[in-house]
Amino acid sequence: MSGLAWLGCAAVWLAAWGLVELIVRRGPRRGFAGRAAAVAVPLIFGATVLFWWEALVRGFAVPAVILPPPSAIAARIVASPAMLAADFAQTMKGLAAGYLIGCGGGILVAVAIDRVPFLQRGLLPLGTLVSALPVVGVAPIMVMWFGFDWPSKAAVVAAMTFFPMLVNCNAGLGATTALDRDLMSTYAASYAATLCKLRLPAALPFVFNGLKICTTLALIGAIVAEFFGTPIVGMGFRISAEVGRMNIDTVWATVAVAALSGSLLYGLVALAERRMTFWHPSFRGRRS
């Protein structure tokens, strides 16, 4: 690429940087405009990175087998929506089932052992330990047990999400103050009433923290499980198969879909969190 083109690229970079600085220092902070500014800053940042990616790949004539430019990836996404949609649906089946089982199970067990301190003291250290282990390793075993289709992926996801959820939910159930509990007992509230009206709502911030951690874990689990054997559809299968065939743009297209679905899942949980724990200090203090 000529020196002039490089100069242009540098100019784009400087302009984007200047714009971001301007928005951060002088831009609106409140109301609708403030929220738009908060979204615009990372978007400008991302667009600049994409621009430089495209420019560098073209400028240095990087072969597409190593790193395709973003435009080629976008073209691939537009060209084969049916395949990407089928992969997405296949992976989501396992992910959703496993996520529900793992997180639901974690919450239920946390509530169940809540009344038995002995089990708590026995299970929680194990839970913390298991949360730190490479649980993805059970993927080949689950594929052996539950076959190639989505149930084995669901099992991996459930195994990965169960313990982080259990640990978080249990921490949440302990998050009430003595004053709150005293109030409930002056009302002669039963255990069930205290649980539903006080302790579960108080545990929600912790539960949502666990749910957020688990979305990322679940996506990892579902995709890795597909590396170990799968019917010929699914995002993990697509990635490992197309890497072998050197169709790197298809791989990147799948990765883009996976990234997008990961962000969407995370966003959904974050949205639900904001709706359900609006009373929590971390949201109450936000600009409205």
Partner: protein, 289 residues
């Protein structure tokens, strides 16, 4: 100590007991077939149960089989042999350590940038968070291929994947930690007209140590996960991930479980190591409990 250990021991024993029962249930079909072909379909049930616990390729190996496999592949084979789990664990730990180092330094650097430049905080931080919703492991096969094209092979591709997983907890934890110093102390530093590097070195860094170690523990565990996954895609170099893959190809369930358990031990060991360093360092800073 004894009162704290009792519940854990009881739960572990219960898990082991449930495991043996599950092994009988899950291996029953295979065992029935085995007895049928051997012509001893009317074997007494103690033989049957003992059989389900000692198959060569069980669906669920009994704990003592896994322990035996680990014992064999750790003590009975030379540690340099490819059949030794010590050899494979060594490869995995090497890549994990390098990845953890790279990821930790990168995450630390990012947190410094984010804390000191408001435009980066608002522009970069959302992408750091988004980078973790990308299933990193989906990138693993590609990172290996890309780096192989530019003739970077061996330890580094695996370490890069491990670093990608472990930089995030460090970056986010440290960004929080560096901001966690008491506003009163910051004001005090200002009255001393301390420069920014001085505030960083004398106040912000010591104040962020508890956050640093909490995120390092998460980071080292994530680094191990990344390495194991990378080894599944790059299995020719060996490592625990490669053992998992080989085991799943050849139906060697005992071998898979043994590799898994060793990986778990490595993970627990690494987290324990970081905790040990934490206790030492925090003790030196007077924050130890």
């Amino acid at each position: 100590m004894a009162t704290r250990a009792t519940p854990v021991v009881v739960v572990v024993l219960a898990v082991l007991a449930a495991w043996y029962v599950a092994a009988v249930a899950m291996n029953a079909d295979l065992q029935r077939q085995a007895f049928d072909t051997a012509g001893t379909a009317d074997a007494a049930w103690p033989d049957f149960v003992a059989g389900t616990w000692s198959q060569a390729h069980p669906r669920l190996p009994a704990p003592h089989q896994i322990a035996g496999e680990i014992g064999r592949s750790v003590f009975a084979v030379a540690p340099t042999s490819k059949r030794s789990l010590v050899y494979h664990a060594g490869i995995t730990l090497e890549a994990t350590a390098l990845g953890f180092l790279l990821g930790g330094l990168f995450g630390f650097g990012l947190s410094l940038l984010v804390v000191h430049a408001p435009s980066l905080d608002r522009g970069l931080m959302p992408w750091i968070v988004a980078s973790q919703t990308v299933p990193i492991v989906a990138l693993a096969p590609m990172i290996v291929v890309i780096l192989a094209q530019v003739s970077v092979t061996g330890l580094l591709p695996k370490a890069v994947i491990a670093a990608y997983l472990s930089f995030f907890p460090v970056a986010v934890g440290m960004a929080k930690g560096l901001r966690s110093s008491d506003p009163l102390h910051v004001d005090l530093m200002r009255t001393y007209s301390a420069s920014r590097p001085q505030v960083l070195r004398l106040l912000r860094l010591p104040a962020s140590l508890p956050f640093l170690f909490a995120s390092l523990k998460v980071g080292v565990a994530a680094s191990l996960v990344g390495t194991v996954v990378a080894e599944v895609t790059k299995s020719e170099d060996g490592g625990l991930g490669a053992r998992l893959l080989a085991g799943s190809y050849y139906g060697q369930t005992v071998q898979i479980w043994a590799a898994l358990l060793v990986a778990a031990l490595c993970g627990a060991g690494l987290v324990g190591l970081v905790s040990g360093v934490e206790r030492l360092v925090l003790g030196r800073f007077g924050g130890g409990r």
